[in-house]
C-alpha cells in the first residue's frame, strides 16, 4: 500500500476504453510523472485522481481512503492547470484563498496561509493585482501558490509549464523541483516533455494508447527501457534502433549488423542470456551518447567496439557534434565531442559502448536478454 493507490483502474467513454487496467502505487512524498504523447490517457488519469472524471472500474485511494465517490473538493488535493485557470475577476490574493474560503476557513487563518505561501513563492507584491495584469511566469507562480495554500495531501500538475517560453520553462522546472524537496509532498505531474519527466520525477510512468508502458525510476526508464516505444520516446535525440541478428562467437553473443553496402559487422553484447538465441532477428538499441569518437569514449566501459563508417550528416550543436551514419538502411546518430571533426562523405572511426546496448524483440517490441 502506497500513499496514493491507483488499483486496476480503467476508463471508458461509451464502448471505447481509453485507459486499460492501470496499476500504480505512489509512496508518500514521491514525485510521480505521467509522460506520453498526446492522447495517451495521462490527463484522463490525472483527472480521475482529481475526481473530475468518473472511474469506470477499479479504485483510487488517497491516504488509505477510497475516493472513487468523493467530491473533488473533499479529496484533499490541489491542482495546477495547464492554463493556470486563475479566476479573472478576482485578485491574486482572492484567487489563492478562494478554496480556503469555500472550506470555511476563518479569515485570519486564510490571511496567514496566504502570507506564508506568498513569501515562499516571492509573489507578495502581486497579491492585489488581477490575473490579467500578470506575465506568464507570474501567473504560473500564482497557480502554484493557490495549490500550496490548500496544504493538500497530494499535488496534481497538468502540464503546468507548457504555456511558458523555453527559458522560463527551465527556470520554473528547477523551482518546482526545489519546492518538492522542501515540502516533500506527494505529487503527480503530467507532461508530454520527456526532459521534464526525467529531471523532476522520483518515478516515471510512461504511457501510450491507454497503457502504462513502463513504471520506474528515471534511470531505469532511460537505461533499461521496457520496449521500443519507451526507448524512442524518452531521450533526445532518441535511441538508435537498428535491425540486427544474434550470432554466437566464442560462446559470447554478438549482434550482427549490416553497414551500408553489404559489409557486416559483429558487435559484442553484454547480455550472456542472449547466447541461447543464436540466429534470432532482434532490434539493437544504442543511445547516441553511447556512440562517440575515439577520445570521447567512456573510459570505464568494458565492451567497446569500433566501427569505421562513412559519415552522412554532421550537425554541430555547440556542446556536442552530432554525426549520422547508416546501418541496415536506417540513420544512426552519434554524439561526438564538440571538437571532433567528421566530414560528410569521409570514413570516421566511431566507438560503440556496448555496455549500454539493449536488445528488443522485433515482434513484441519488448526488451529481451536481461
Amino acid at each position: 500500500m502506497g500513499f496514493l493507490d491507483i488499483d486496476n483502474v480503467t476508463k471508458s467513454y461509451g464502448t471505447v476504453e481509453v485507459l486499460h487496467r492501470v496499476d500504480i502505487s505512489v509512496g508518500e512524498g514521491e514525485f510521480l510523472v505521467l509522460v506520453g504523447p498526446s492522447g495517451c490517457g495521462k490527463s484522463t488519469l490525472l483527472n480521475m485522481i482529481a475526481g473530475l472524471e468518473d472511474i469506470t472500474s477499479g479504485t483510487i485511494s488517497i491516504n488509505g481512503r477510497v475516493v472513487n465517490e468523493v467530491h473533488p473538493s473533499r479529496r484533499n488535493i490541489a491542482m495546477v492547470f495547464q492554463s493556470y485557470a486563475l479566476y479573472p475577476n478576482m485578485t491574486v490574493g482572492q484567487n489563492m484563498t478562494f478554496g480556503l474560503e469555500m472550506h470555511g476557513v476563518p479569515k485570519a487563518e486564510r490571511e496567514r496561509a496566504l502570507k506564508d505561501v506568498a513569501q515562499l513563492l516571492q509573489i507578495g507584491h502581486l497579491l492585489d493585482r488581477k490575473p490579467g495584469q500578470l506575465s506568464g511566469g507570474q501567473r504560473q507562480r500564482v497557480a502554484m501558490g493557490r495549490a500550496l495554500v490548500r496544504d493538500p495531501d497530494v499535488f496534481l500538475f497538468d502540464e503546468p509549464l507548457s504555456n511558458l517560453d523555453a527559458k522560463l520553462r527551465v527556470d520554473m522546472r528547477t523551482e518546482i523541483k526545489k519546492l518538492h524537496h522542501r515540502l516533500g509532498r506527494t505529487t503527480v505531474y503530467v507532461t508530454h516533455d520527456q526532459i521534464e519527466a526525467l529531471t523532476l520525477s522520483t518515478r516515471i510512468a510512461v504511457m501510450n494508447k491507454g497503457h502504462v508502458q513502463q513504471l520506474g525510476t528515471p534511470r531505469e526508464i532511460y537505461d533499461r527501457p521496457a520496449n521500443t516505444f519507451v526507448a524512442s520516446f524518452m531521450g533526445n535525440p532518441s535511441m538508435n534502433l537498428m535491425p540486427a541478428r544474434i550470432v554466437v562467437r566464442d560462446g559470447a553473443p554478438h549482434a550482427q549488423v549490416t553497414l551500408d553496402g553489404a559489409s557486416q559487422k559483429l558487435l559484442r553484447l553484454g547480455q550472456p542470456a542472449l547466447a541461447a538465441q543464436d540466429g534470432r532477428e532482434v532490434i539493437l538499441g544504442l543511445r547516441p551518447e553511447a556512440i562517440t569518437d575515439e577520445g570521447g569514449a567512456d573510459s570505464s566501459a568494458q565492451l567497446v567496439e569500433q566501427v569505421d563508417h562513412v559519415v552522412s550528416v554532421v550537425e554541430p550543436a555547440g556542446a556536442d557534434t552530432f554525426a549520422a551514419f547508416t546501418v541496415g538502411g536506417r540513420d544512426v546518430v552519434a554524439r561526438l565531442r564538440a571538437n571532433s571533426q567528421p566530414r560528410v562523405g569521409a570514413q570516421f572511426p566511431f566507438r560503440l559502448n556496448m555496455d549500454k546496448a539493449v536488445v528488443f524483440d522485433p515482434r513484441t517490441e519488448a526488451r529481451i536478454g536481461d
Binding site: 473533499r74 492554463s83 486563475l86
Partner: protein, 293 residues
C-alpha cells in the same frame, strides 16, 4: 463592431475612392431621410405639412404635436396620448427582459459546463424555437392565456415574451460560455465551490459583455414587438407599438401627420437611445444571433 479589427489591404485609385465615397454618402442620406423628415415635420403645425414641402424646415416651429402625441391624442376611445401605453411597454419590457436574461444565463451555464446526455438535443430544440413564425402559436396561446385568466393583461404579455425570449438568451450565453475555459470551473470545483457558487462567483462576474448584448437584444425585440401585443394585450395592456399603429391608422377626423410623426419618434426613442449608447453591443447581438449555432 466586435470583429472590426483590421481593414483590407486592398488599395484603390483616386477616382475609385471618390466614387466609393459618393455612393456611401448617398446611402447614408437614404437611411437618414425618413427619420430626418419625420423629425422636421413633427415640429410643424399641420397646415405647413399638408400645404407645403416636406423637405422645408419649419417656418413656425412648435412642440404642440409632441405634447399632443404624448398626452392628448385620441387612441382608441380615450384621448390619453401615448403616455399610458409607454408606461405599459416599460412595465412589460423590464420584467420580461430580466427574467429571460437570467434564465438564459443559467441555461447557457448548464449547457456548456454541466453537460448531460442529450444536451445537444435540448439546445437544438431551443435554437429552432428562436425562428418559428409566431403565427403557429397564436391560437393555442390565446386559449391558454384565457384559461389562465391572463388574457389582455400585462402579466400575460410578460409570460409570452419570456417564453419566446429564452431561446435567444440561451443561445447568447451558451456561445459565450462555450469559449469560457472549463479548467476554471474545474479549479473552482476542487476549491470546493458548488453549482450555484461557481455560477455566482466565477461565471457571472465575467458575463458582463454578453449580458449587455442579451439585454439589449431582448429589450429591442420586446419593445418593438407588435404581433403579440396586438393579439394578446387587449385595451388595457396595449404596448407602445400597437398604440402607435392605432393612432396612425385611425380613420376618424383629420390626419394629424405631425402628431403621428412625433408619436412614431416617441415609440422609437427608447430603442434608438439604446442603439446610440451601446451600438457596439447591439451589433454584436445581431451577429451572435446569426453566425454561430
Amino acid at each position: 463592431m466586435s470583429v472590426a479589427t483590421q481593414t483590407t489591404a486592398v488599395r484603390t485609385g483616386r477616382i475609385g475612392r471618390a466614387l466609393i465615397v459618393t455612393v456611401l454618402i448617398f446611402f447614408a442620406l437614404f437611411y437618414l431621410l425618413p427619420l430626418g423628415v419625420m423629425l422636421i415635420n413633427s415640429l410643424k403645425p399641420l397646415p405647413e405639412i399638408t400645404g407645403g414641402n416636406m423637405m422645408a424646415l419649419p417656418r413656425e416651429p412648435t412642440l404642440d404635436p409632441w405634447r399632443s402625441a404624448w398626452s392628448t391624442a385620441q387612441i382608441g376611445v380615450q384621448a390619453t396620448g401615448l403616455k399610458p401605453y409607454f408606461l405599459n411597454s416599460i412595465l412589460m419590457v423590464v420584467p420580461a427582459v430580466a427574467i429571460s436574461t437570467m434564465l438564459g444565463a443559467l441555461n447557457g451555464y448548464v449547457l456548456t459546463k454541466w453537460r448531460f446526455p442529450g444536451h445537444r438535443w435540448v439546445f437544438g430544440l431551443l435554437l429552432f424555437s428562436c425562428f418559428i413564425p409566431f403565427q403557429i402559436v397564436l391560437i393555442p396561446m390565446a386559449r391558454l392565456l384565457g384559461l389562465m385568466g391572463l388574457a389582455g393583461s400585462l402579466p400575460g404579455l410578460i409570460l409570452v415574451h419570456v417564453v419566446y425570449g429564452i431561446g435567444f438568451s440561451t443561445l447568447y450565453f451558451r456561445n459565450y460560455y462555450a469559449a469560457f475555459p472549463t479548467e476554471l470551473v474545474r479549479a473552482a470545483m476542487i476549491d470546493g465551490a458548488g453549482f450555484f457558487r461557481i455560477f455566482w462567483r466565477i461565471m457571472l462576474p465575467v458575463s458582463g459583455p454578453i449580458a449587455v448584448v442579451c439585454i439589449i437584444w431582448q429589450f429591442t425585440n420586446i419593445w418593438n414587438d407588435f404581433l403579440f401585443g396586438v393579439s394578446f394585450a387587449g385595451l388595457d395592456a396595449m404596448p407602445m407599438t400597437v398604440a402607435l399603429n392605432n393612432l396612425v391608422q385611425s380613420s376618424t377626423g383629420v390626419r394629424e401627420y405631425n402628431v403621428h410623426f412625433a408619436a412614431a419618434i416617441l415609440a422609437a426613442l427608447p430603442t434608438l437611445l439604446v442603439y446610440i449608447v451601446a451600438g457596439r453591443y447591439f451589433v454584436r447581438g445581431l451577429m451572435a444571433g446569426s453566425v454561430k449555432g
